[in-house]
Amino acid sequence: MRALLLVLVATTALATPRPARDTADVGNRGSYSVGIFNPLRIAFHNRFELQANPLLFFVAPHLDARFAILKPPVAEGQLPMGVRLTAEAGLLMPTFGMRLMKGFFFPTWATSPNDIGFMLIPRVGLLASGDFFTNDVLTVRIDGALRIPLGPNNATPMNSFLAPLEILFAAPLTGFCGRLGGAYDHAFGDRLRLRGEVNLYVTGQQGNLEVEGQNLGPVAAISPFIFTAHLGLDIAVFQYSRITVGALFANYDQGATQVTTRADGFSERTRVRSNNILPTLDFIWAGF
């Protein structure tokens, strides 16, 4: 805590708050940002930037391109204002990374040729951002990712205890992941930003169990809807960087049941949705 205070005190005086994150804003040419968990973003043009996550890139090669469709001119040192509209398109090849998880999140398949198949995951999205008050940003987004199989695949959805993992692997394992989300980002002075975000994800079906080339039929059904809400605080440090802290809530179906006792003393087991509450933390160097 003392170290954090020291960093804050050492921060140079700021004329404007940090820009809001995860919006439709595309940086001006040459701008960039990178976090430990947040992606590396580099603007190659005032209306075009590329992003990739350095932690995942070498095990799950991927690249996202962002194109600013509507981008009002931004004066030097000022934050974007007005309605911004940005299209996103990306491509992911997750197989190598998923195969590294064999034995833990996926079977080893020691006695058969079964394996996680090669696949491509294209993604497209559209984001719109606008200002309500000075330095506040409202963002709505819609995106979707699909699986294009490049061969046989024996992996089935994880149904894991972490909703973010389910979302990350939804398209590779269920064939589809769509999202409709919105976020509101409010600046408290020059140093703090509070961000609230909600998302509704729809995944594909759980799919069929393929064993050694044989389709054995559908695995158990799980609700395809995942709801998340995130509340985060960005704390400006140094000249351009920030520390982000927050909490993520997720509600999803993980196959859980709950036992309730009836009036006659006997019990019933009913299916319930599971909840996650997870801390989020990152340091983002530079920024847009």
């Binding site: 006695t111 149904n159 054995l216 039929g217 695995v219 196959g255 019990s267 599971s274």
Partner: protein, 393 residues
């Protein structure tokens, strides 16, 4: 507030957050209980009423292998499946229920039965058997409850033992067994926590106690032996008429495994202790290697309780004992690396009652025709049901 007190308060708040990190549900239930009551369940379907004030009870104990029938899972080493489809599970459970209905027990002890596990398609198997047999009441004691087992993609698992009854179960509880000590902390966290299940069953004119057990299979630290001794001790304290059934993961005490070859107590030629036809070489050195059997640990049960198959009937040597074998990892449709088809090759499952009481019509339901059954148990689980009629004292 001093800085130290501030830090202590902050730490307490952080610790309070820990269980919330993955919601209010344990990632893996540590099962911190010694003895506790567990829920009772009742069939929604109406079943034929049992005989009032019975003089005997038909009893069945069966490890039902979570409704997987003869699908070879990864820890069997004959296959590498980690989950079943919904249709596979319901097809298997339908056949299991049909066999139970054929024998039509008054009390049925089930081991390895699951309620919301990914590998068995999240099907409530206790409810399935309640609705599809003549058993009206049940209790389920969880022995493995993990929100996610991060091994081979096993995922969510809720496995346990169940006691089903045609007569009302008035009280149900589980008694915690000792844990293994030969596992690292992470493995132990996500591993099975064994427990003894107990149910009080009201027969009208009296109440009896039924027990179900499933002791450890893979330990090398003497855990199974301690658990079997604990089961013995629990039965010693029981005041009601009782019956126990289950998978003890141990061989009958035909001999003493510690005795020198050539001595009268030696197991040589009397009981196979190792080298079973269903043990695959690739299992050696893994955490699922078969540990050495110690049949002598079962001797107190045969000395002080009444087994459904006494040693005199069990016989000496494999040929005599074969009709009473209850387990094979390898099913009849598979062959081992030497080309030998799978067959029942050892006895691990038992029924006992108090010494001096009487069994009638006991058997191991290995194949169609045994006690007139039509179903084929060898294709329904890796264990065979042990059955008998307990003549009530």
């Amino acid at each position: 507030m001093t800085l130290r007190r501030y830090h202590a308060t902050a730490m307490r708040k952080l610790l309070l957050l820990v269980p919330l990190l993955a919601s209010c549900e344990w990632v893996a239930d540590p099962m911190n209980f010694t003895r506790e009551e567990v829920p009772r369940y009742k069939a929604n379907a109406e079943h034929p009423a049992p005989v009032a004030n019975p003089i005997g009870l038909k009893v069945m104990a069966w490890n039902v292998k979570y409704g997987a029938c003869r699908v070879d899972f990864w820890f069997d080493f004959w296959g590498d499946r980690v989950q079943l489809t919904e249709a596979e599970t319901t097809d298997c459970l339908t056949k299991v229920a049909a066999l139970i209905k054929e024998y039509d027990p008054d009390i049925f002890m089930a081991e390895e039965i699951e309620v919301d596990s990914k590998r068995s398609a999240y099907i409530d198997q206790v409810r399935f058997l309640l609705e599809n047999t003549n058993l009206q009441y049940a209790t389920f004691d969880e022995t493995w409850n993990a929100r996610y087992v991060p091994s081979e993609g096993v995922g969510r698992i809720t496995l346990g033992n169940a006691i089903f009854s045609r007569y009302p179960i008035t009280k149900a509880e589980r008694i915690r067994q000792v844990d293994r000590t030969d596992q690292d902390g992470l493995t132990a966290t996500f591993y099975i926590k064994r427990a003894i299940g107990r149910a009080e069953i009201n027969l009208g004119d009296r109440t009896v106690a039924a027990y179900v057990v499933h002791t450890e299979a893979y330990d090398f630290d003497g855990t199974k032996q301690k658990q079997i001794k604990q089961v013995y001790d629990v039965l010693q304290e029981e005041t009601m008429p009782w019956v126990i059934g289950g998978d003890f993961n141990e061989l009958p005490p035909v001999c003493d495994e510690k005795a020198e070859a050539g001595t009268p107590e030696s197991c040589e030629g009397k009981l196979r202790l190792a080298g079973f036809i269903d043990e695959r070489a690739s299992s050696k050195g893994t955490e699922y290697e078969q540990p050495p059997y110690t049949p002598s640990v079962m001797k107190p049960f045969y000395d002080d309780y009444e087994p459904s198959i006494p040693l005199a009937r069990y016989g000496i040597g494999e040929t005599a004992q074969q009709p009473f074998f209850t387990h094979t990892v390898l099913g009849p449709d598979g062959v081992n690396d030497e080309g030998v088809p799978g067959r029942w090759n050892r006895t691990l499952d038992y029924l006992f009652i108090r010494k001096g009481e009487t069994w009638a019509s006991t058997d191991v339901l290995q194949e169609p025709g045994r006690l007139g059954i039509v179903g084929d148990p060898s294709r329904l689980s890796d264990h065979a049901p042990v059955v008998g009629t307990w003549v009530l004292p």
